[in-house]
Symmetry: C2
Amino acid sequence: MIDVVKIKENETVDDLILSGLKIIQKTSSFRFSIDAVLLAHFVTVKKKDKVIDLGTGTGVIPLIISTREKELDLTGIEIQEEMAEMAKRSMLLNNLTDIKIIAGDFRKLGKEFNNKFNLVVSNPPYLPLNQGKISSIPEIALSRHEIKCTLGELMETAARLLKNQGRFTLIHRAERLGQIIALLQKEKLEPKRMRLVHSHFNKPANLVLLESVKGASPSLKVYEPLIIYNQDGSYTNEILNYYFGGEACAT
Amino acid sequence: MIDVVKIKENETVDDLILSGLKIIQKTSSFRFSIDAVLLAHFVTVKKKDKVIDLGTGTGVIPLIISTREKELDLTGIEIQEEMAEMAKRSMLLNNLTDIKIIAGDFRKLGKEFNNKFNLVVSNPPYLPLNQGKISSIPEIALSRHEIKCTLGELMETAARLLKNQGRFTLIHRAERLGQIIALLQKEKLEPKRMRLVHSHFNKPANLVLLESVKGASPSLKVYEPLIIYNQDGSYTNEILNYYFGGEACAT
């Protein structure tokens, strides 16, 4: 398939390793990170689930989720048109054109999308506008700072798109956990599964993986910590399994 | 001092190990657990701080906190009169009669206690009334189930007693973290420091240690996990340090 998909001059084709998947990324701007990989492995996903990724970027999350279950109905929505077009070509490159990529603002998705999804996922920008320097490269600025969408608007959209008992799963900075839980509960999204991500086992958590269920009763399962690096700086077995196979989801 | 403090027939004098402290406990009912020790080591405490422990039981938490800093003004309040009287004798036994023990309901503490404390701590009952069997032994029932006070009433009291920027630190079941954060934020107690407690490093979290600050801005530091047991079933070095000395608080 590769020879029929156009790769532009400022793009690279990168190997996702996982299941032979490939992804097109720009050389100069936002490139997918390990965070997307962690999220795609943490989500609970069931056969035939209808799934949407809010702010899909390069489309890496639907691509990885497609390997987790059969007969999924996968959609990614991305506000940056050029990025969305690139994600579409990545789907073509992997012969996964049943993964739909929408170029648009997820806050403006029509009523026909309401209460339709089993799973909403998102790896949103981590920083509010008043924190940290905003990048001069628009793609990087949009992926890091809440320029196009606040955390509250993300939760609102997730709650609106989900069926009752549907799941909203996100990855975010651990330091924002208090705000995240408050905003989720405002939308009746109840936190049910959480895993903290630490670079090393004896370091503070950098990131949090959190799955909430629309309309569920309160009771949160906090998994064992997810550790990225061994003491010698090599990746832990769990991280290696995410890339090189094996059953890697928290159980 | 021991010979002047009366020990009743159904009581034991137990060694807290730490700094040679001793504690009186009943043989048949609630005895302090490792949870109180974890909490007393997790709290941020500064010289001359005015501290109150809500539901102090045997008084174990103020006893341990008294070893963490100098010139503290420590109070414990306990609704069960017999338990409070026993806690008073433990203070006498340790020659720490400057630790005040109040027999009473903390929800009814008078206005003269409002906005007076730098630190409020609590190791409250972990179970709502609709969950788990309620013990027929009153002391155990009160220490396990929210019979005398709901979690919301605890947060309300903590917020009322604290000075602005004062700290409220509790230990609770990890599964109730969602509710805890929602209730704290309702009282403008902002979660600032959190540590999850796991029996083993590869097991889900059982408990959460959480320190909130009255009127603070949101930003939560999540520490490295606190692990109780090594793989071979022995206590980890951190836990041994809590009992046998060394600087053991998360930094």
